[in-house]
């Protein structure tokens, strides 16, 4: 079953032709409309005419999250605001978010990607899809929502949280497909068990899970506990959102929608392209986007590519499950967290020094974040309630930036272990 057989099973050489044409259009578009790219290309001595086919992509400059920050909020948009119909945002490396804009065509194309992903997971027009990703600036909720509507299934836009209500609706509404983070799926399974509900009483067939790292062991656990097929989906707002790639029911790598997003694997150290099958940093060029096309965007996700034709019949290149990051970004309950964001909050408190360490744990499938920070040598109050208030104020300000709850622990000066060279800021104790 395919959503768009013509594209998803397109012979490779035809796909290369399509990609070449679309890359050329995109390069012309950004050269004309985005001063950032024009300047970069001029500095490198590259003209849009130099890009004759997709093989020429390595001549083009990279784009990083820092470039998005420096052009905050709309500086990299290639369409006038009158044509932008939607704005989303994700965490930036400091206080300011990374902002993306979509034209009507962008929303249509993104919905197409999400529809293909849903069909990969076995959805059709009879499916009842419960979207338990957050709705809002985060792309998860609305991205899958539009995919279900495009497909003609029935979408339940429940968003995240309130697990008992999720379960009641899942049971009463006859949900067939669940969309959420893998850790939330596991948590739902645990609550089901606590409530004494056998998953076989549900109508659930599969779950499309993403927005955070998870292992093959975790997948088997979810599949067993919920009695479903668990499908891995990948996406990031900079490129579009959920549906950049998605597994089929063979569960061997995620099919990249390469008619819209051209992938490369590079070495994060030398920035040189790497051969298929080798692990490196995933780089995407959006070749059909209008609102904010990005050239060779460094995702910082570590993975590898596989160009073998899949047993499902799709010819598209597949990416392996993301194996790590080439920066220090953490994904906590589906939210991207950079240690520098936390640091910028700590910096506002004269009561603290800037020595801190972040502990990540997973308790009952829920990610927990603890920030341990050293105080300065001067104790600003010797009253317990004042110090507890300080802890709460720090936690509240971090919440204002990250939108997640953290536990703040104050410790004495120079009690956090020093590492030689680059400071160790994160201890991830999750067993993923």
């Amino acid at each position: 079953m395919y959503w768009n057989e013509h594209i998803e099973c397109m012979p490779i050489d035809q796909m290369r032709e399509l990609q070449s044409r679309r890359l050329q259009d995109t390069v012309f578009r950004v050269y004309q409309n985005v001063p950032f790219y024009k300047k970069k290309m001029q500095e490198m001595g590259i003209a849009p005419e130099d890009i004759r086919s997709i093989e020429d992509i390595s001549l083009l400059p990279f784009t990083t999250k820092d470039d998005l920050r420096e052009n905050y909020p709309y500086g990299l948009f290639a369409s006038p605001m009158s044509e932008i119909i939607r704005i989303h945002a994700s965490s930036g490396t400091t206080g300011k978010p990374t902002v993306v804009g979509y034209t009507r065509n962008d929303i249509t194309n993104w919905s197409e990607c999400a529809a293909r992903a849903l069909v990969c997971a076995g959805a059709d027009s009879h499916s009842v899809v419960q979207v338990a990703y957050g709705y809002g600036l985060f792309t998860g909720g609305l991205g899958m929502h539009y995919g279900v509507e495009k497909l003609g299934g029935s979408v339940i836009p429940i968003s995240g949280g309130n697990t008992k209500r999720q379960i009641m609706i899942m049971k009463d509404f006859g949900t067939t497909i669940l969309c959420c983070t893998p850790s939330y799926a596991l948590y739902i399974a645990e609550v089901l068990e606590e409530m004494g509900i056998d998953p076989r009483e549900l109508n659930l067939k599969s779950a499309i899970l993403g927005a955070e790292p998870w292992s093959e062991e975790m997948r088997r656990d979810i599949e067993k506990k919920l009695n479903i097929l668990a499908i891995d989906i990948y996406g990031l707002s900079e490129i579009t959102g959920p549906g950049v790639s998605c597994e089929c029911d063979r569960q061997v790598g995620m099919h990249i929608n390469e008619d819209m997003f051209y992938p490369e694997i590079i070495s994060p150290d030398t920035l040189k392209p790497m051969a298929d099958g080798q692990n490196g940093e995933l780089v995407f060029t959006t070749i059909l986007k209008e609102g904010i096309p990005l050239i060779r965007y460094r995702t910082r996700d570590i993975t590898r590519l596989n160009r073998d034709v899949c047993a499902c019949g799709r010819t598209s290149v597949r990416m392996h499950k993301v194996m790590g990051r080439s920066d220090d970004m953490l994904i906590i309950r589906g939210v991207n967290v950079f240690p520098t964001q936390i640091e910028s909050v700590l910096d506002r408190f004269p009561e603290l020094s800037l020595n801190y360490i972040i502990y990540v744990t997973r308790e009952k499938s829920v990610d927990m974040l603890e920030v341990k920070v050293e105080m300065s040598e001067n104790l600003y109050s010797d009253e317990v309630k004042e110090i507890e208030k300080l802890q709460q104020r720090i936690a509240a300000e971090i919440h204002a930036v990250l939108n997640i709850n953290v536990k703040v622990t104050l410790v004495g000066p120079k009690t956090i272990e020093r590492s030689e060279g680059k400071a160790k800021r994160v201890v991830d104790l999750r067993k993923i």
Binding site: L379, E383, T409, K414
Partner: protein, 143 residues
């Protein structure tokens, strides 16, 4: 009449309080009075020592967060109702007490109570007016 008290932040971690007392022992610093307020995550040790400025320096050099807090030392008759009488004077003068704890040693058969109040100068004034003896630092540090 205002006494310098040392306040030290001690995280709730095995051995941390020992490290602090060990620093004091090595430097020959005698704790004349001491109390610890604690929570789930941390405690605050408050103490009276002979040389508060030196002690603060030593403690900070050994990686503790510390400060000097102004408190008063009040002589209270060691009989039922003795403390109550003192608290009434402060209450009538609308001076709130943040915390208090007792001194280890007595002074002329009277108990000594350390008070942390919102306005130490005002507290000294009203207590003295009511003939309650507030001890100066020179007496206290040398007890």
């Amino acid at each position: 009449m205002v006494i310098k008290q040392i306040s030290v932040f001690v995280e709730n971690k095995q051995g941390r309080l020992y490290m602090l007392t060990d620093v004091l022992a090595r430097e020959g610093i005698d704790l004349k009075a001491m109390t610890i307020a604690d929570t789930m995550d941390f405690g605050i040790m408050r103490c009276i020592v002979a040389d508060p400025d030196k002690t603060l320096k030593v403690i900070r050099e050994n990686n503790f967060t510390a400060s000097i807090t102004e408190v008063i030392a009040v002589e209270v008759p060691d009989v039922p109702g003795g403390l109550s009488k003192v608290l009434k004077i402060l209450s009538d003068a609308s001076i709130s007490v943040e915390y208090l704890y007792s001194f280890v040693r007595k002074h002329k058969d009277n108990a000594l109570i350390i008070f942390r109040v919102e306005d130490p100068q005002a507290a000294v004034k009203v207590l003295s007016e009511k003939d309650v003896n507030v001890l100066p630092g020179e007496v206290l540090y040398n007890l």
